[in-house]
Amino acid sequence: MDNLLLNVEDLKTHFFLDDGVVPAVDGVSFHLRKGETLAVVGESGSGKSITSLSIMRLVPAPPGRIVGGRITFAGEDLLAKSEKEMRDVRGNRISMIFQEPMTSLNPVYRVGDQIAESLVLHKRMKKKEALEQAVEMLRLTGIPSPEKRVRDFPHQMSGGMRQRVMIAMALCCQPELLIADEPTTALDVTIQAQILELMQELQRQMNTSIILITHDLAVVAEVADRAVVMYCGKVVEEAPVAELFENPLHPYTRGLLNSIPRLDENVDRLFMIDGVVPNMLRLPPGCAFAPRCPEAREHCRETAPRLTRVAPGRLVSCLLVEGGAA
């Protein structure tokens, strides 16, 4: 495939707890092209965040460990790299934005110094030069009077501003890949709109690829090119965003889409997915979604489905769809 930047193949990250093994990420595969935005969608416990931490090789260990699979980034095997080599990758070629702009900035350093830090580290810049670059980055992220704000401490800034600083930090080394883990979840809608717009604008300018980790399908519809839907550590569906919303194949994806209350519709009752996410220590045999699936048949509870390609660019892991399409 041309322009392939990242290829994740059969990734398995398990957590070894006192009570047993949690297969947080269990055989996840997807790829990402240059300049593309891929959304990884899922609810809490789906393994979407652990997938991104696995790519960064930042899985908390113990109790977590990557037990299998392959992550190829720009032709290099990330899982084969030493810790020292990984440090050169993190923050430089792959960087990350977290959900909580309050806690992901260090409160005791000025924001300028925090941005400059990675430039000094990765680009071997002099401190003064790095600080000038930091001002440029703040300007780029739309922070007014960046020359002044560069000397601010995080607590002097609002949540939206801090998220801009996080973006400035993440992009200052011009990474090839940006992983944004719920970047707007903690923000208000008007600020969310600003930040999403900013991320798309910067992506166009820098041709960065983005993996957007989110639970919010509306955000996916707004910014992503393709989407991967995860449930209980596995990919259940992958599709270009337009097709995913037009014709969701997996019952879980359909359920998620239908259960969002919409501004342009009046319904008395919302669609519901019954039940709760199963305990990851005791996953049901067969399809993990079967206990909640309105369409589940007998064999869904016995046989685990595999992620299968059903049309160009469309993959789904559901016995019912395979039966119909394959």
Binding site: E43, S44, P144, S158, G159, G160, M161, D188, V189, T190, I191, Q192, A193, Q194, L196, E197, H215, D216, L217, A218, V219, V220, A221, E222, V241, A242, F245, E246, G255, L256, L257, S259, I260, P261, R262, L263, D264, N266, V267, D268, R269, L270, F271, M272, I273, D274, V276, V277
Partner: protein
């Protein structure tokens, strides 16, 4: 019809103590002159961004906080005049469901004890009768009787929120304040809880004040919706009216900022510049003028009046005057 709750010019200022000798340094005007009615049996939605004072308003109505000024009439009675004993009795009539299902249940009590507590406090039931009532309440919210022996940490977020709802139902109140009841829950669980709240309202005729920041969620459950900005109500109208024909520029911007779960819809977006100003020093004149795309000279000088621009549609904006 006489409103169940009348809120009149409600204000709550928090003093931020910063100086060494305990002198108040700054005053946060969390709620600054809010008036509205809640009618029996309706759901009034209250939306706004963080720090707009919507949660504080909810807690003032329950008198979990003491107001700086203003009145709240519940069934015609000013609750801020009530003595401690009277207030405790009034609490039978008004309950609250909290946002965080993890923080709002005492981790050292079983679910049964949590749900039974209001019944015990008001001596509504005891012994076998109490147990029966607890089971009924749990089944009302979709939990099983045996769940009563479990502790909150054994439940998922959505199930805990059901426990919180059961506790709020226990005294069979008239008013339930729902303070962001679904914003901490996963999407697939959100719709379960929203449907449950609607079902319960149909069955028991509760009146809801539904506080949330998600405009789509509020639209789904509410009959009327109020929009707050920096401690003030800027617009209040029927559900369809507010979402279909919003008058205030802030409401319009807020609505346009909501992402649509449909990639085919590319809507014209009003992106507001800047952040919400600090409630410590709110702007003079109209509080929204610093971010408003229709700002006029008068907006900087004079705060607009909250008035009924159309029947049942209240708004506080100078720019609407011409309409």
């Amino acid at each position: 019809m006489e409103p169940l709750v009348k809120v009149r010019n409600l204000k709550k200022y928090f003093t931020v103590q910063a100086s060494m000798f305990g002198k108040p340094r700054a005053v946060v005007k969390a709620v600054d002159g809010v008036s509205f009615d809640i009618h029996p049996g309706e759901t009034l939605g209250l939306v706004g961004e963080s720090g707009c004072g919507k949660s504080t308003t909810g807690r003032l109505i329950l008198r979990l906080l003491e107001p700086t000024a203003g009145e709240v009439f519940f069934n015609g009675r000013n609750i801020f005049d009530a003595s401690a004993a009277e207030m405790r009795n009034l609490r039978r009539e008004m309950q609250i469901i909290f946002q965080d299902p993890y923080a709002s249940l005492n981790p050292r009590m079983t679910v049964g004890q949590i749900v039974a507590e209001p019944l015990r406090v008001f001596n509504l039931a005891a012994g076998a009768e109490l147990e029966k009532r607890v089971r009924e309440l749990l089944s009302c919210v979709g939990l099983a009787g045996y769940h009563a022996r479990r502790y909150p940490h054994e439940f998922s977020g959505g199930q805990r929120q059901r426990v919180g709802i059961a506790r709020a139902l226990a005294t069979n109140p008239k008013l339930i304040i729902c303070d962001e009841p679904v914003s901490a829950l996963d999407v697939s669980i959100q719709s379960q809880v929203l449907n449950l709240l609607k079902d319960l309202q149909k069955e028991f005729g509760f009146t809801y004040l539904f506080i949330a920041h998600g405009l789509n969620v509020v639209k789904h459950v509410s009959d009327r919706v109020g929009v707050m900005y920096l401690g003030q109500l800027v617009e209040l109208a029927g559900d369809d009216e507010l979402y279909g024909a919003p008058l205030h520029p802030y409401t319009r911007a807020l609505l346009s900022a909501v992402p649509v779960p449909d990639p085919k819809v590319k809507k014209e977006r009003i992106i507001l510049t800047g952040d919400v100003p600090s409630p410590v020093n709110p702007p003079d004149g109209c509080r929204f003028h610093t971010r408003c795309f229709r700002c006029m000279e008068v907006c900087r000088r004079r705060p607009p009046e909250f008035r009924e621009a159309r029947p049942g549609h209240w708004v506080a904006c100078h720019a609407v005057e011409g309409d």
